[in-house]
């Protein structure tokens, strides 16, 4: 393991030591316990998952250590509840008090919670970093979560206004902010990825997905007789649609074309999502820097598709098992409904089975997703990296302490947890 001889520019890689089966077992047991405890077990499961991923990730032959505990997450969650309860109550009262303006309060609440979510994201990252120990030193993060949340909100607005074209620059800018405030020991991090590079790589995807929708809109503008349409709508009454159709004989065909185009766009988006993920992951990991230590990713798109194929295969198996299990339950419902129609036992049983089935299915698919796609992305993201400048790793000095788990709790209550 030890290699004390120092060449001028030592290179190395990341290896993942964990076994898929062990991880799947951990997640499966966790899913059952999540159900039994209505989700309270998630703090323990999340800690187990992180411990597994961290300790099995060896950078240049030395594994990471995850030092976070479930109780910290519970504490953070309780603090988050204490923060969020007055906020929710405030919005509720505002909605009651202001009547029509109350609708606006809903929008404001949505936006406000979105900004709070970004705040939580930054704090949660800090929590995870400070609980990550490598070669006896801690990772740390400074910077202001408030500043980050403000920047992120502004970027999201810009991304929405440019139909996603600003997204690469958003990622680059936010990642620069995060990495600029990240340290391994006293070694500062930075992010060297350029937004325009990601834009160039992602532009073909964007065009493929936007083009069908643009075509549909163009067809509408071309085919619709706008004066007839506005006349038909302005007249009002019950038969607006009938008159709209009468005034625009070509409208039916255009609607069919538009629907087909939207379906095409959605299908392309689903099919190309792994490509997008691979491009972003490769670009992101290739931009990570700690001092003179540089990373370069050799991730291939087909590797990410492989992960999704595994997900589809196990999902198919799970669906078949679920279907077979559902048959006796459906028969039971039928018998109950047939024998005692007036008590509604059949209806109640159907509601319970439907509810249970929904929870089992949702939890099952998300567990399969974690055990296949998420694990593979973690593994691939690391193992395709080539690290250079590793001489530096032998003499990084310590700095910083642990941080509060508050952000993690907020992130949990606002559903933006992640790894």
């Amino acid at each position: 393991m030890a290699s004390l001889q120092a060449s001028a520019d030592r290179t190395g890689g990341v290896r993942f030591l964990g076994r898929r089966r062990a991880y799947a077992r951990l997640l499966g047991r966790g899913a059952v316990l999540l159900m039994a405890t209505l989700g309270l077990y998630r703090f323990w499961l999340m800690t187990d998952v992180r411990r597994f991923l961290w300790v099995n990730t060896a950078i240049d032959g030395e594994t990471l250590e995850y030092a976070g505990t479930p109780l910290e997450l519970v504490l953070g969650f309780l603090v988050a509840v204490a923060v969020l309860v007055p906020v929710y109550a405030g919005f509720f009262i505002a909605a009651l008090d202001l009547g029509a303006i109350g609708e606006m309060a809903g929008v404001a609440a949505f936006l406000g919670l979105g900004v709070l979510g970004q705040y939580a994201l930054y704090r949660a990252r800090r929590y995870r970093l400070t609980r990550t120990i490598f070669r006896g030193l801690r990772f740390t993060q400074d910077g202001s979560a408030l500043v980050y949340a403000t920047r992120a909100a502004a970027w999201w607005l810009l991304t929405a206004l440019t139909l996603g074209l600003a997204y690469p620059f958003q990622l680059a800018s936010l990642e620069r902010y995060k990495m600029r405030h990240t340290y391994y020991g006293a070694l500062p991090g930075r992010f060297a990825g350029a937004g325009w590079k990601l834009l160039l790589r992602g532009l073909p995807l964007w065009l493929l997905i936007v083009a069908p929708i643009a075509l549909a809109i163009a067809a509408f503008i071309e085919a619709v007789d706008w004066t007839a349409l506005s006349a038909a709508v302005a007249q009002g009454g019950d038969n607006v649609m009938g008159r709209v159709e009468g005034g625009n004989p070509a409208l039916g065909e255009v609607v069919v074309f538009a629907v087909l185009m939207v379906v095409l766009s959605v299908a392309l988006a689903a099919l190309l999502y792994p490509v997008f993920q691979a491009i972003v992951l490769r670009w992101w990991t290739s931009g990570l820097r700690f001092g003179a230590i540089e990373a370069r990713s050799k991730l291939r798109i087909r590797q990410v598709y492989g992960a999704y194929m595994r997900f589809l295969w196990w999902s198919l198996v799970f669906t078949i098992v679920l279907g077979l299990l559902a048959i006796p339950l459906l028969i039971l419902i039928g018998v109950l409904a047939g024998k005692m129609p007036e008590t509604g036992a059949g209806d109640i049983a159907a509601t319970l089975v439907g509810l249970g089935g929904y929870v089992v299915a949702a939890l099952g698919y998300s567990t399969i997703y974690r055990a296949t796609v998420q694990l593979s992305l973690w593994q691939l993201g690391g193992e395709t990296l080539q690290l250079s400048g590793l001489d530096l790793l032998d003499h990084v000095e310590a700095r910083g302490g642990a941080s509060s788990p508050l952000g993690e709790g907020l992130a949990d209550a606002l559903n933006v947890g992640g790894y």
Partner: protein, 372 residues
């Protein structure tokens, strides 16, 4: 004795001192009370008492230990299985077999299940009891505001065809509106509630009516079609006034808010949690509403008699519409058996053949309120 297998008392390890990331190959010696770490040249790097040694997360084939409560993140890694077992045997807080963790997890799962059980008890008994106590204390003004907020939601979910004026019936039908006003004013006068009621007939095919906190009552077109005479329609409206008088809508809203708070907020982002909340709400609420509906029936019968109408009319229309006085009722069957309800109504109301609450001419006009 030379060949007996003995647990090793010294071995190799890798040490990080927590000040600098330098990796050091070290020699570890197990003493009587302490573990000592020396570098290859024999210089002492650290000496840890066994009771202060913590086992730390590490890959399967590695023992990673540190010193408890140490601000410095000193880490010692041992790769040799036999030597790792020897360290484990001496340090109580090193838990390589996972037995300690297993016991902790059992306690967590047990306590969590207890918490879930107590949450369910609170949801089942506590929330309804609280809502029942709080709803009569709410000032009318608050109730009206609550009603306005709920009304917006309900309107948008009822008005599925096209939002707008066409959803409400009676535009330009003075005679029909006068007939409705005549009917409802008699009932409202007899009820003498602290808040004014608003009655609106809407374009919906179901034979239902709906009372919302704050005194808004929606009568569906389908109910007017299903009624044979004005008293049957008045019977259902009286039942709805009963819901307003008992503040059932307000209580349901408080219950819903309480339940979604309990499950949604405290339990957080459990996958599918949202669906659980909604289903829990409808299942729980359907179980309260049996008594609630019976109480509204009794109120409705009494109100009809006070207003000079036929108390049994509610019973006769109930049989025809299958007991579903509110939308969505059939799906969960949250009514007592319709026959039992009708029997109760007949017990409460003597058979009378008085004059109808509306004249034949008024009733004909009212029946046409949504037509044309």
């Amino acid at each position: 004795m030379a060949n007996t297998v003995q647990a090793p008392t010294a071995g190799a390890g890798v040490f990080f001192d927590g000040r600098i990331s330098t990796r050091r190959d070290v020699r570890v010696t197990l003493g009587a009370r302490t573990l000592t770490i020396d570098d290859v040249s024999g210089r002492l790097l650290a000496e840890w008492p066994y009771e202060e040694i913590d086992g730390l997360p590490a890959p399967d084939n590695v023992l990673r230990i540190g010193r408890h409560g140490n601000a410095l993140l000193e880490r010692l890694e041992i790769f040799d299985a036999a030597f790792a077992a020897a360290v484990d045997a001496r340090a109580a807080n090193v838990d390589r077999s996972g037995g300690m963790q297993h016991r902790q997890r059992l306690a967590v799962v047990g306590l969590s299940m207890g918490a879930v059980a107590s949450l369910l008890v609170v949801a089942w008994f506590g929330v309804p009891a609280l809502a029942t106590r709080v709803s009569p204390l709410l000032p009318v003004a608050v109730e009206r505001k609550l009603g306005a907020a709920v009304d917006m939601q309900i309107r948008s979910s009822l008005d599925t065809r096209h939002a707008g004026a066409a959803f409400e019936c009676g535009a330009g039908k003075t005679e029909a509106r006068a007939a409705l006003a005549h009917l409802t004013q008699r009932l409202e006068a007899a009820a003498a509630l602290p808040l004014p009621l608003t009655f609106t007939v809407v374009h919906r095919p179901e034979a239902n009516a709906l009372a919302i906190p704050g005194g808004q009552v929606y009568v569906f077109e389908g109910l007017i079609d299903a009624a044979r005479d004005a008293d049957e329609l008045a019977g259902v409206i009286a039942h709805e006034i009963g819901h307003v008088a008992h503040r059932d809508g307000t209580r349901a809203v408080l219950q819903g808010a309480g339940l979604s708070f309990l499950f949604g907020m405290l339990l957080g982002d459990f996958v599918g949690g949202g669906a659980v909340v909604i289903a829990a709400k409808s299942v729980l609420q359907s179980s309260y509403s049996r008594e609630v509906e019976a109480a509204a029936d009794a109120y409705g019968v009494g109100l009809m008699q006070k207003a000079g109408g036929n108390g049994r009319a509610l019973g006769t229309i109930l049989v025809r519409i299958g007991g579903a006085t509110e939308p969505g009722m059939k799906i969960l069957r949250d009514h007592p058996d319709t026959r039992a309800r009708v029997a109760t109504i007949e017990r409460l109301a003597p058979a009378v053949a008085g004059p109808s609450m509306l004249s034949m001419q008024e009733w004909t006009a009212l029946r046409g309120i949504c037509k044309g």
